[in-house]
Symmetry: C2
Subunit: 230 residues, 2 copies
DNA sequence: TTGCCTTAAATTGTTGACAATCTGACACGG
DNA sequence: CCGTGTCAGATTGTCAACAATTTAAGGCAA
């Protein structure tokens, strides 16, 4: 089991991103360079570069001389992420009109089955990841790699947001039926309906967020913002 | 004139970005670490980090053991960048409905005047930058920082694309009248018209690109892609 | 006990030297 | 004259030691 692969900063990024996507890294988690060096078997240089890349994706926050931690999007950022997803995914779906063929639809169907199977087998981490990948699959039909990469960022952010403000009873960020309904609308060629379902689906998830619980420690400042300082 | 400021990687990034925006750095330009160290008065570490950030923005391309160079977007990428801009700017303009007040319109008017003044005084670099900033100004009205940051990336890419494939006779990527017409449509509250003008404006720029001239040297690979390797 | 100062440990930031790789030129053989 | 192999110079990649900063604990006085 000797790690012969040197493992580049992109690999480290991918691992951390995956952990975020599967909710194994909670927002606010401190990432010390040394421990990551031990985990991935690389030097500090690589970890440091990975941090820089992840910062650009708003996945980690860097504080000078204080290290890196998994980002904690503010409620304002959360709202903007969801608005962005609505705009982007809607636009990409409209852009997909006439580009979706039978093969694509079958792939989407297969993906739905994978989601269901993961959910049935109790593999929640896998299911969470698949629900995110569904949106990527859908958006890929538009054939625009640049927009797709942007959406990927937004999906990672969504994972952080749901982890922070999502309903604690369900670890879900996507209802399986919603996805199925979207695919069925596409099957019948009704892009307008699919678009509406998609936007509504995102709005549904956003509406389930709870922002009033002070998860974060530094909310004390906000809580006592009305106190006059002499 | 001693540089007392240490100059961080963000500063270096900003300078390089500016140079790209003002067409003082052509696509394909080799960026050696040492020369940039001398120019900005920083260590290789800072330059290296700046490269990583710029790579994330698709402004520089990094090749292992071969250094960094200003990116040269392919025709396919160029097409996707323009498609993305149409989608994004259109969506953001629609999102701005009801959010644009008199003050915003006056700012846009003032910006138009700045553009005109730069053009009249022959300050082309400044004019090029301003034409890009117009689109940022417009998009800012939607109040979505995330989408705005994405659009900024796209605008930098556009600058590279126009430098590569733009009409050589005019160094312009934006017609001044187009911008004015958009603002006038907004002044009369006709968002539909403004949206149409904006999309058409972007299509106009894209249609003026010329892709058939083989600027790049590595086109040999594409030219001989059909050759079988034994 | 509370508050504050001092001190030590831990963590991050920076620099420099060294290793690995690539570029370009020169010589050699065909 | 052309293609190939080799070598020196230049450029990038990596790493380890050192400096700077932050964090946490302990002691001391009020």
């Amino acid at each position: 089991m000797a790690n012969t692969a040197p493992m580049t900063e992109e690999d480290v990024c991918a691992h951390i991103r995956d952990s975020v996507l599967e909710r194994r890294l909670a927002p606010g988690t401190k990432l010390t360079e040394e421990s990551l060096c031990a985990i991935f078997g690389v030097g500090r240089t690589t970890i440091r570069r990975a941090f820089l890349l992840l910062k650009r994706d708003n996945i980690v926050e860097l504080q000078r001389n204080r290290g890196a931690m998994i980002a904690s999007p503010s409620p304002e950022e959360a709202q903007q992420v969801f608005e962005s997803r609505r705009l982007v995914e809607k636009a990409l779906l409209e852009q997909s009109i006439g580009k979706i063929n039978t093969a694509s639809l079958e792939e989407l169907e297969a993906h739905l089955k994978e989601e269901q199977s993961a959910l049935a087998s109790g593999n929640i981490a896998r299911w969470i990841r698949l629900t995110g990948e569904f949106h990527m699959h859908l958006a890929r039909q538009a054939g625009n790699e640049i927009m797709l990469a942007f959406l990927e960022q937004l999906i990672f952010q969504t994972s952080l947001i749901v982890a922070l403000y999502g309903p604690s009873n369900s670890g879900s960020n996507c209802n399986g039926d919603d996805h199925r309904n979207i695919v069925e609308a596409l099957n019948s060629g009704d892009f307008g309906c699919a678009s509406r379902l998609l936007v509504h689906h995102l709005q549904e998830i956003e509406s389930q967020l709870v922002f009033d619980s002070p998860h974060e420690a530094d909310d004390l400042q906000a809580a006592f913002a009305n106190v006059r300082t002499a």
